[in-house]
């Protein structure tokens, strides 16, 4: 029983990070119909920028409270990523807005390579140790189930950020403009919405979330390097599709479900298949679930609202 509970904790933590990254994919897709494959790289840039900030802070003000240092690092990483998101949209994607769908998709893949290579030039090929400023000392809220403060922080921060985003999109004027642009940006423009600004803003918000996700990811595992964004990016994209791409609630649900399926899958796949499959099929297990969901619900778990887009 403790094992199952522990796997659920593991899954929730990983799923929260997936969800946060998935929001960036889904927001951009919802508005532009574009899959921004470079989004995972923004996560990496966020983590490495935060790392650089922390290293500088540790040199200048070694006595500063650890949490304050981390907060400053996040506050540096977010604007850097936001500017990066803005530039990506402005320089690469906006010019291709009227182009056939494949052109921006391939541009996004190229952007991903470009950012990885840039990061490799700046930070090198080595793995870096990311200072774990939130404690990783395990606690046992239930005997036998171990939870660390950093894991709790990840789940709480993700939940808060996601709640904030939902409020922004559903309750504010800006949110209404975003939804209008998503529905039909020509009509939205006719109604007086500055759609270019809204699209740019979508990229900026997504990149900001990615920066937070990057810092959380690096803090949890204590490691950062130039290729760290690729796998979480791919998983988050999967999560977005699982939940119904273009749908905010779907991205969150998809992230959490994917995290749980992976953890529980890795833990029980061997028992469930009577030893036929083992944990090297961990990733395949997640994709099988994705396949099954898409067969019965082609638009994802919560995807009915985008069915008219495709």
């Amino acid at each position: 029983m403790e094992t199952l509970l522990q796997q659920i904790v593991n899954g929730l933590v990983v799923g929260s990070v997936y969800a946060l990254v998935a929001l960036g994919y889904t927001m951009v897709y919802g508005i532009l119909g574009l899959i921004n494959f470079a989004h995972g790289e923004v996560v990496m840039i966020g983590a490495l920028t935060a790392l650089q900030t922390l290293l500088i802070l540790m040199g200048v003000a070694p006595d500063m409270a650890p949490l304050l240092k981390l907060a400053i690092a996040v506050l540096v990483a977010m604007p850097v990523c936001m500017i990066l998101g803005f530039l990506m949209e402005r320089l690469a994607y906006r010019r291709l807005r009227g182009a056939p769908r494949l052109a921006p998709l391939i541009t996004a893949i190229g952007m991903s390579f470009l950012l990885q290579t840039l990061a490799m030039i700046i930070w090198g090929r080595n793995y870096h140790t990311f200072p774990q400023l939130i404690s990783t000392a395990p606690m046992q809220p239930i005997p036998g189930v171990f939870v660390t403060p950093v894991q709790v922080a990840i789940v709480i921060v993700s939940a808060l950020v996601m709640a904030g985003l939902i409020l922004l999109v559903t309750k504010t004027r800006l949110g209404r403009a975003m939804r209008a642009t998503a529905e039909n940006h020509r009509v939205a423009a006719l109604m007086g919405v500055d759609t270019n600004a809204i699209i740019a803003l979508t990229f900026v918000i997504g990149a900001g979330l990615a920066a937070v996700a990057g810092v959380m990811f690096a803090s949890n595992y204590g490691i950062a390097h130039y290729a760290m964004g690729f796998m979480p990016g791919l998983k988050a994209f999967t999560a977005a599709v699982l939940g119904g791409i273009g749908n905010l609630g779907g991205a969150m649900l998809g992230g959490i479900v994917l995290g749980l399926v992976e953890a529980v899958g890795a833990g029980y796949i061997e028992t469930m298949t009577f030893g036929f499959l083992n944990s090297s099929y961990q990733d395949i297990f997640a994709f099988v679930i994705l396949g099954i969901v898409l067969i019965f619900r082609p638009t994802g778990l919560l995807g009915e609202r985008v069915s008219d887009r495709a």
Binding site: Y127, Q132, Q151, G222, A266, N278, S280
Partner: protein
């Protein structure tokens, strides 16, 4: 015409006899050495080259007579930049220069492709540091190594876990790479053979950072020892996650995680429960280690890095084989090299049928006082 031809022939014969007379004092025989002399592990490459150089200088000083001639050995040192392509290029260069044998290369990745070139040219090669089993599994007659391979390493890890650590239940994780999986399979075999029980065999990949799910599963099996076959980039976070999950089992890894990088990546999660292994003995534990250390220091004014004694023994093995065969021709001394047995710096140097060192030593290190310390 005919007369002059004969005259030239006679003159030539005369010169031949004369030069034969002169070169009785010094006939030059070239041995090749290859290692990375530029790049991030160039210090290790230079260390190997110095090891081989020390060996031939000592033999030159003692005087070696082969086929009635005094031989002067020379090193032809090449740089492979730890890059497989550069490795094959310089291998061809050594073959073209008709060296009598090659000490090198340093990395498995460069040694394996280069070994084919030496094999085709019929030139014996001895690597002082390449541990991948594939090198000798190619069944090339002239390929040897003076360091233990990963099969021997896996065997030693399994025995250490069940013996010294007294483990009954062992969990094994590998990263599904040729190195990680190969090493893990050997550990599993050896642990089973020495009375251990494999309670879990889990898998990850060489890009993963999250191991919580598989570690949670392993935790439920209550292993005494967890072995990971893979590199430091995964082993570091893995050790942190062991601690986060409150797993107290001992953690072991192979040479891929026996690095300074591992100390950084695992950070404060390391404890006396963390072990790793390296092929070879620490210098102080080698039979001729103490003396070698002093000679090396005196000659190069440098400290031995890691593999210099193995390069020394590799060069020595070739020269000893030439002495036994009474020939410096590769085809003639190769059979003698296969059968060689002598006391080298690192221990008894003798090769098995495949070309692996017979008594390959493996050292287990334990984390203590902020670094890796050999377990006595």
């Amino acid at each position: 015409m005919k007369k002059t031809g004969i005259a030239i022939a006679i003159m030539g014969l005369g010169f031949g006899l004369m030069s034969g007379g002169v070169s009785a004092a010094d006939m030059v025989v070239k041995l090749g050495h290859v290692g990375p002399l530029t790049g991030s592990i160039s210090h290790l490459g230079k260390d190997n080259e110095n090891g081989a150089l020390l060996a031939i200088e000592e033999y030159n000083a003692k005087g070696v007579t082969i086929g009635g001639k005094t031989i002067k050995f020379e090193i032809m040192g090449e740089d492979d930049q730890a890059d497989p392509r550069a490795g094959t290029t310089v291998a061809q260069r050594l073959v073209d220069a008709e060296v009598a044998g090659v000490v090198g290369h340093l990395n498995s990745g460069t040694t394996i492709p280069a070994s084919r070139i030496y094999h085709q040219a019929g030139i014996p090669m001895i690597s002082p540091s390449a541990t991948n089993p594939k090198l000798t599994q190619q069944n090339y007659a002239g390929v040897f190594r003076t360091i233990a391979n990963d099969v021997q390493q896996g065997g030693a890890i399994g025995k250490f876990a069940t013996g010294t650590l007294g483990a009954k239940n062992i969990a094994i994780i590998d990263d599904r790479t040729a190195y990680g999986q190969g090493l893990a399979d050997e550990v599993e075999k050896s642990a089973k053979a020495t009375g251990g029980k494999i309670v879990a065999r889990e898998f990850t990949n060489d890009k993963a950072t999250d191991f919580m799910a598989i570690l949670t599963k392993i935790k439920a099996q209550n292993p005494d020892v967890i072995f990971f076959g893979g590199m430091d980039a995964q082993a570091g976070p893995m050790v942190r996650q062991l601690k986060q999950l409150g797993i107290n089992a001992k953690f072991m890894a192979g040479d891929g995680a026996c690095s300074g990088e591992m100390l950084k990546l695992a950070g404060d999660a390391l404890s006396g429960n963390t072990y790793c292994t390296q092929a070879g003995l620490p210098l102080d534990k080698m039979p001729g280690g103490k003396d070698f250390k002093d000679r090396y220091k005196k000659r190069f004014n440098l400290d031995v890095q890691i593999y210099a004694p193995y390069a020394y023994d590799a060069a020595a093995a070739m020269i000893e084989a030439m002495k036994v065969a009474d020939s410096t021709s590769p085809a003639k001394y190769l059979p003698a090299l296969k059968a060689i047995s002598f006391q080298g710096v690192t221990g008894n140097v003798a090769f098995d049928a495949k070309g692996d060192i017979k008594e390959g030593a493996i050292t287990v290190y334990q984390f203590k006082d902020g670094g890796w310390n050999p377990v006595p």
